[in-house]
């Protein structure tokens, strides 16, 4: 055995490694493919060996070959083998190969689930890291579902290296498994305030990516991001956040207002161009969102445009490019401020860099007006001539067409000019956009009736000179134009001056070389022309000429009858026969023209592209219903048992059966006929009153005399230029005329004759050369306006459109792998074995389907809930308004409405943050304690208006958890406000513990609101409320000896004086110390970083370092402050006691039942128990209370029994088993630190003794 290993390693020495492979390929330049194929053979041999090192080496080489374009999916299984190696080096090779070539279709992926799970929980952080990196590239919906929970746990890993990777990969998980978004989101949100900048940046990254797709769901995070934006120094994070705000502002204009100032500051202060640019971009987005309401931001626009001009003028091409890009965004809403920089932009058109020229073109699009359109297009036409390279020229061409056709040809005053431009564009060689020009020609000719005469003349010339267009090559896309030309000439042939000549041009033998679909149009329109010609000749009673025309067709059409193209052939032979018949009639001197014209009578109107979709489904029409009854399955099944009897009396049975069938069929037929007769949408067989178009008589066809004083081609000068000159002259004349007129009749309205020139008139008010009637596109009557047309139903991000503020339902928990299959069957378990039985596969697909349904349901549900929420909110507001003086009564109703409002409160929170106008400071009234009513009530009533903005920090608080509390806090305050006289003070007067709102809890189902704030101390001037040290975090590294606890304290000014120079001081104990800034002595106080105007509250946080956490702590402290009123200022002080309960050292940590079971089995934990009598609250309230006040999380709950878990900041595990029966609750607890456990249990007891 040992010998084998040695031999193996010696063999290995002479195996090719990656470097040898690369070297070999480089040395076989001539026969690279052959060399590689021998290498692949070698690799196949190596993969067959047992030695994992050899395999890893082979896989490594495969990764290289994959980059060169070789398919290596055949080695997928070997890659999985290498991934599962215990050595990091090999594992990494395996994961790299997997990330390069695995995808959703790779079937071996399902074998990796357990391996990946193992690697994710590996003690070696680099194993975990490598697994996360690999997984990010090949995660599938199945993997995402099975591993979501494991990855979520990693988000709170101790190592920031793992945390940031886990956070980042969550985005991929969400994409593949949208159900995980809601359960994982709270934690993701927490990570926004992670102490490690890398993790923070990753979280910002993920949320930005999510929010970009469904911004409205993330509006509530705006305050948090706002805080990050003002505090972060990492440019990358700042850029992301600023970009995110750019996506959010369109939804919430108030946010924009708030943003303008900090963004402008950043623009002025930053030196990083990237940041500056993004700031400008977001300011632009804000301005766009505000543009409807407030025009008062001209300063900001000016600043942006000015900064962008600097960018555009910069020598760095990158900045120039981006400047133009941003400029085009301003253009949309503030075109005037950009138009003043026309010079600069036209200058950019001459730039040597194509990207920059293209951007400048984009800008031109928005800068045109009726006045300068011709001039700009002329400039572009010059560029078209100069342009090298077809792509840029094509781009110019499309831009010219875009510019001219934008908003329904709004800026075109002279359509003759436009047609000439289009004709000129057909001279471009090798353009791909023939069809674009063609469709423009068709569109203009159809929709602008006045131009038809001119257009037809132009098209006739085009057809006559078709050889110029098709001359060069067949693949030339420009011949598409002939399609349009032929159709226009045929359809509007009444405008043709010499239809015979055009007809002749359309039947030239050369036409047969054109693409099939064009030939088909030629043939069809030749027939139309034929009809016109006939009519003309018969009108002139020139039967000779008419017969000649027929003969021409009969001569030429056989060429098309032979065409290989089916369409051409069919049409040609059809028309040929028709003409032959006509000829026969002609020879008998029968007048046929009228009948022939009738074939092509009627007008074609343009139809809007979405018209078909918008036809509403008529009532009672069910497209999914069967037209004929489907053969029912049950019948055939029923027949089988009957077959037993069929033997006995076969004839009878059969005959009866058919009889029934015939009767039944007849009956059905009747019913169907009846239905059809009643159905107006059924096209009946009998000839109905279908609309027959009145064929216009020959005399009605107006023959337009075309003034050919403008020749088609002026040598040396493109003809569209002439229009430019003409237009200028015309405009000048008009101006002069107008001046005259205005002098005469100032009030006379102009432009009477213009029927429907769409779009608003520009301020110059240029009348178009022709009276233009732009036919609007047809839409079906009572079309439903729908806005969801543009959404792509296949967009994976659509699934992530999930309301994140809704509280989590039980069903939404992530699937957890457990050892007890009856609790929750993990689909991953099935995959351990290599072959999955087909049955389970079916199941999983079924599951998926169900899930889809669920998803849809969810979506619907969330919509409904939103509606409900809104209602609730309104209802509540009404309640509040209508019942100001009936506090007691309203209390109950509100209590009942509490749970829904707690969700809507998130929104109102945001409203609060966004409203720069002060919300009626609910805070004041809360402070009215019974003792101080007299002193403060005078100050209370209406001192509202001057509440400053700096209440923000209170709202921009960290965890969701906390936020909820705050909401409740606020609600509470609002309630209190209404109950001014009937004051329920629910807090203990000083140093109280956690308190439960409104004392008693009725038997209601919804959870009563809970608050973690308690009054610390108060006097007539100030009240201090303290939050239980919820925000606890430990410092990494010195885990064991020192931990930090953050205490948030709300200071509230209850007096009508100004409070300032507040100093917070605590007498340190051996165990707990207040963290003071460096250089401060151990007894110095900390200055509270704000001042309090009357009636205002604000929050400050203080950090304490704690050594031992097994005992509760009490710290004495004082707050000193100066009370400043108009007359005097006095020094005041307030003593308080800070109570650190053991509970406050616990952190809510989720735990999975398997880990929990292991923990209990390990035997390291000491037990203790507790009995509580007379608890009459629902079990889930009880659990919620323990979770909320004591920071536990429920591991598992079965009926009236639940296991719970929490962890202290120093890593002690605390496990609880809570059972309840008949008002008695027994709690069995285990912990590795008995004294900690004892204290926690005491505190638990205290909590419940209060209720």
């Amino acid at each position: 055995m040992a010998l084998k290993i040695v031999k193996g390693s010696i063999d290995r020495m002479f195996d090719k490694n990656l470097q040898d492979l690369v070297r070999g390929i480089r040395n076989h330049k001539e026969d690279e493919a052959k060399y590689i194929s021998t290498c692949i053979d070698e690799i196949k041999q190596e993969l067959k060996q047992d030695n994992i090192a050899v395999k890893a080496n082979a896989v490594c080489k495969l990764t290289y070959l994959q980059m060169l374009g070789y398919d290596v999916s055949w080695a997928a299984f070997n890659i999985v083998e290498v991934m599962s190696s215990s050595k990091f080096t090999f594992k990494r090779i395996g994961y790299l190969a997997a990330s390069q070539c695995f995808h959703e279709g790779t079937d071996v992926i399902m074998l990796t689930t357990n391996q990946i799970r193992k690697d994710l929980s590996s003690p070696n952080q680099y194993d975990t890291g490598v697994a996360l990196t690999g997984l990010s590239c090949f995660v599938t919906p199945d993997l995402a579902r099975d591993l979501a929970n494991d990855i979520m746990t990693l988000m709170s890993h101790t190592k920031p290296y793992i945390r940031k990777k886990a956070v980042l990969i969550m985005y991929k998980v969400f994409l593949k498994y949208p159900e995980s978004l809601r359960p994982a989101f709270p934690r993701l949100k927490e990570k926004l305030e992670d102490p490690d900048p890398g993790v923070q940046s990753a979280a910002v990254n993920v949320i930005c990516e999510l929010a970009r797709r469904n911004p409205k769901n993330y509006l509530s995070l705006a305050p948090l991001f706002f805080k990050l934006m003002t505090s972060s120094t990492n440019n990358w994070v700042l850029i992301k956040i600023i970009k995110l705000f750019g996506a959010l502002t369109p939804l919430e204009p108030r946010l924009g207002k708030k943003l303008i100032e900090p963004l402008t500051n950043l623009i002025h202060s930053t030196s990083a161009m990237s940041l500056l640019y993004e700031c400008v971009n977001t300011v632009i987005a804000v301005l766009i969102s505000l543009s409807s309401g407030m025009p008062n931001h001209s300063a900001s626009i000016q600043l942006c445009v000015q900064k962008l001009r600097i960018l555009i003028e910069d020598s760095d091409q990158n900045l120039k490019y981006l400047g133009l890009l941003a400029m085009s965004k301003i253009l949309k809403t503030h075109p005037k401020s950009v138009q003043s920089h026309k010079d600069l932009i036209l200058q950019c058109l001459d730039d040597k860099d194509e990207s920059i020229r293209l951007r400048a073109l984009d800008l031109l699009y928005g800068m045109v007006s009726k006045k300068n359109l011709m001039e700009i297009v002329k400039k572009l036409m010059l560029h078209v001539d100069k342009a090298e390279g077809t792509t840029y020229r094509d781009e110019l061409l499309t831009k010219i067409i875009d510019i001219c056709s934008q908003s329904n040809y709004q800026y075109i005053t002279n359509f003759e000019w436009y047609i000439s431009i289009l004709v000129e564009l057909t001279r471009l060689e090798g353009t791909r956009h023939g069809h674009l020009i063609a469709s423009q020609m068709l569109d203009v000719a159809i929709r602008v009736k006045a131009i038809r005469g001119f257009a037809v003349a132009q098209m006739a010339t085009l057809l006559d000179n078709a050889h110029l267009l098709t001359g060069n090559t067949q693949r030339n896309g420009i011949c598409e134009v002939l399609y349009a030309a032929a159709w226009i000439c045929g359809e509007f042939s009444e405008h043709l001056e010499d239809p015979m000549q055009t007809l002749e041009a359309m039947l030239r033998p050369k036409v047969a070389t054109l693409p099939g679909h064009i030939q088909a149009v030629y043939v069809q329109n030749a027939a139309k022309l034929f009809a016109t010609v006939l009519q003309k000749h018969e009108g002139e009673t020139d039967s000779q000429a008419a017969q000649e025309t027929s003969q021409l067709l009969i001569d030429r059409l056989p060429l098309f009858v032979q065409s290989a193209n089916l369409e051409v052939q069919e049409r040609a032979s059809c028309i040929l026969q028709l003409v032959k018949y006509i000829q026969k009639l002609q020879q008998k001197n029968v007048e046929v023209a009228e009948e022939v014209t009738a074939l092509f009578a009627g007008e074609l109107n343009p139809v809007a592209p979405k018209a078909q979709k918008k036809v509403p489904i008529p009532e009672g029409l069910d497209l999914d219903a069967w037209i004929n009854e489907p053969p029912s399955e049950s019948e055939s099944e029923d027949e089988k048992p009957k077959a037993v009897f069929a033997k006995e009396e076969p004839k009878h049975y059969r005959s009866r059966n058919t009889e029934v069938d015939e009767k039944e069929l007849a009956r059905r037929r009747e019913v169907r006929k009846q239905e059809q007769a009643n159905n107006p949408f059924y096209i009946k067989a009998s000839p109905s009153s279908q609309k027959v178009y009145d064929a216009p008589g020959v005399e009605h066809i107006p023959v337009v005399q075309i003034d050919l004083s403008v020749p088609l081609k002026v040598p040396g000068m493109p003809m569209s230029d002439q229009y430019l000159k003409l237009e200028e002259e015309r405009q000048q004349k008009e101006k002069a005329e107008r001046k005259k007129k205005e002098k005469k009749k100032k009030r006379e309205k102009r432009g009477k004759g213009r029927k429907a020139d769409s779009g608003p008139e520009s301020e110059e008010d240029i009348t178009p050369a022709q009276h233009v009637d732009i036919v609007t596109e047809e839409m079906p009557e009572n079309a439903l306006p729908s806005d969801d047309d543009d959404k792509d139903p296949n967009d994976p991000h659509r699934a992530l459109d999930i309301d994140l503020d809704k509280p989590l339902a039980d069903s939404e928990k992530l699937p957890v792998r457990t050892h007890r299959p009856e609790v929750l069957k993990s689909p991953a378990e099935d995959r351990v074995s290599e072959s999955v039985p087909p049955e389970t596969k079916k199941k999983s697909s079924k599951e998926k389907k169900e899930k889809k349904k669920d998803k849809e349901k969810d979506r619907k549900r969330s919509k409904e809930e939103k509606k409900k929420k809104k209602k609730h909110k309104e209802v509540e507001e009404e309640l509040l308004e209508s019942q100001p003086e009936e506090p007691v009564q309203s209390e109950e109703t509100k209590e009942a409405a509490a749970p829904p409002t707690s969700t809507s409160a998130e929104a109102s929170d945001l409203d609060f943050w966004l409203s720069s106008a002060p919300v009626p400071p609910a805070a004041q009234e809360v402070t009215v304690p019974s003792s101080a009513v007299e002193t403060s009530s005078a100050a209370v009533p209406e001192s509202e208006p001057d509440e400053p903005k700096d209440t923000e920090p209170e709202d921009t608080k960290s965890s969701k958890h906390k936020k909820k509390k705050q909401k409740k806090e606020k609600e509470e305050k609002e309630k209190k406000k209404k109950k001014r006289h009937h004051h329920h003070h629910h807090h203990g007067e000083a140093g109280g513990e956690d308190s439960v709102q409104n004392g008693t809890v009725e038997e209601e189902e919804p959870l009563p609101p809970m608050s973690n704030y308690s009054v610390l101390a108060e006097n007539s001037f100030i009240k201090m409320m303290r939050e239980d040290a919820e925000q606890v975090y430990d410092i990494q590294g010195n885990h064991q000896d020192e931990s930090k606890v953050v205490v948030s304290i709300i200071f509230e000014n209850k007096s009508d004086s100004f409070l300032k120079s507040m100093e917070f001081n605590v007498l340190d104990s051996l165990n707990s110390k207040l963290q003071r800034p460096e250089g401060a002595g151990p007894h110095d106080g900390l200055t509270v970083p704000f001042q309090l105007p009357p009636g205002v509250s604000n929050e400050a946080r203080f950090v304490f370092s704690v050594q031992s956490i097994v005992m509760p702590q009490k710290l004495k402290g004082t707050l000193t402050f100066i009370v400043k009123s108009d007359e005097s200022s006095t020094h005041e002080k307030l003593d308080f006691k800070l109570h650190f309960t053991c509970t406050s050292y616990l952190i809510t940590t989720p735990c999975y039942s398997d880990a929990y079971a292991k923990l209990l089995e390990s035997g390291d934990l000491k037990g203790s128990s507790l009995r509580l009598e007379g608890i009459n609250m629902p079990f889930h309230h009880l659990l919620a209370r323990i979770c909320f006040h004591h920071h536990f999380s429920v591991v598992e709950r079965i009926d009236s029994c639940a296991s719970m878990y929490s962890r202290s900041i120093q890593g002690h595990h605390v496990c609880l088993l809570v059972k309840t029966s008949d008002q008695t609750v027994s709690i069995d607890a285990k912990c590795d630190e008995p004294s900690l456990l004892g204290n926690v249990l005491d505190e638990l007891k205290q909590t419940f003794s209060k209720c």
Binding site: S9, I10, R12, M13, F14, L18, Q19, D20, R26, C60, T63, Y64, M67, L68, G69, Y70, D71, K87, F88, T89, R92, I93, L96, Q100, H103, E104, Y126, S136, K164, K165, L168, I169, Y171, G198, S201, A202, N205, V206, C208, E209, R212, N234, N235, I239, K243, S271, A272, M273, S274, E278, Q317, N318, K320, Y321, K352, D353, E354, S355, I356, L358
Partner: protein, 193 residues
């Protein structure tokens, strides 16, 4: 999101390709070729952004690239990324390579594609930027190679020796490759903090 990261030389030979969306090998090669054609015909002093090719994502995406001596570094990104930010990121990437390979040249990338992948993985994960701090990236990369060495231990020694000998036996190796040092000084860009 970053859709793909490509490194190829002046002749369009791929030196590293990382796609964050799945394509078949053939499409990948086409994308590389197309990108090379788009990028290589651009002058030195034009802007470093261009609208994405037809194959990879269309108009949503942008190509952001930098050209260093013999190599093109191309990032294909969508609209959520900051253009200048990505340019800085490419700079960080190249500087990190320079640090890890000690004066990086094209040859390093040719022979150590796996190592480049590993460094890249510390910077961009699944199409999203993981780390922009150069020292952090190189610390992690070093930690990786340290682990690798400790695992190889004595067993790896003979293999290393053989490979060293192999390298020595190739007198033509330095000749047939012309290496330009990758110049990493680029003005006008502030790097990340």
């Amino acid at each position: 999101m970053i859709k793909a990261i490509l490194i190829f030389n002046n002749h369009g030979k791929p030196r590293l390709s990382k796609f964050y969306e799945h394509y078949t090998e053939d499409t990948e090669q086409q994308i590389i070729r197309e990108t090379f054609h788009l990028v290589s015909k651009r002058d030195e002093n034009v802007c470093n952004f261009l609208e994405g090719g037809l194959l990879i994502g269309g108009s949503e995406n942008k190509l952001i690239y930098r050209h260093y001596a013999t190599l093109y570094f191309v990032f294909c990104v969508d609209s959520s990324e900051s253009e200048l930010g990505i340019l800085d990121l490419i700079q960080v990437f190249v500087e990190t390579l320079d640090k890890c390979f000690e004066n990086v040249c094209e040859l390093d990338l040719i022979f150590h594609m796996d190592k480049v992948h590993n460094i890249l993985a510390e910077m961009v994960m699944g199409g999203m930027v993981l780390e922009t701090n150069m020292s952090e990236i190189s610390t992690q990369a070093e930690a990786h190679s340290k682990m690798e060495k400790s695992e190889a231990g004595i067993a790896g020694a003979p293999a290393r020796a053989v490979s060293a000998v192999k390298n020595m036996n190739l007198p033509e190796m330095p000749k047939n490759i012309n290496i330009g040092d990758i110049s990493i000084k680029v003005p006008n860009l502030s790097s990340f903090k």
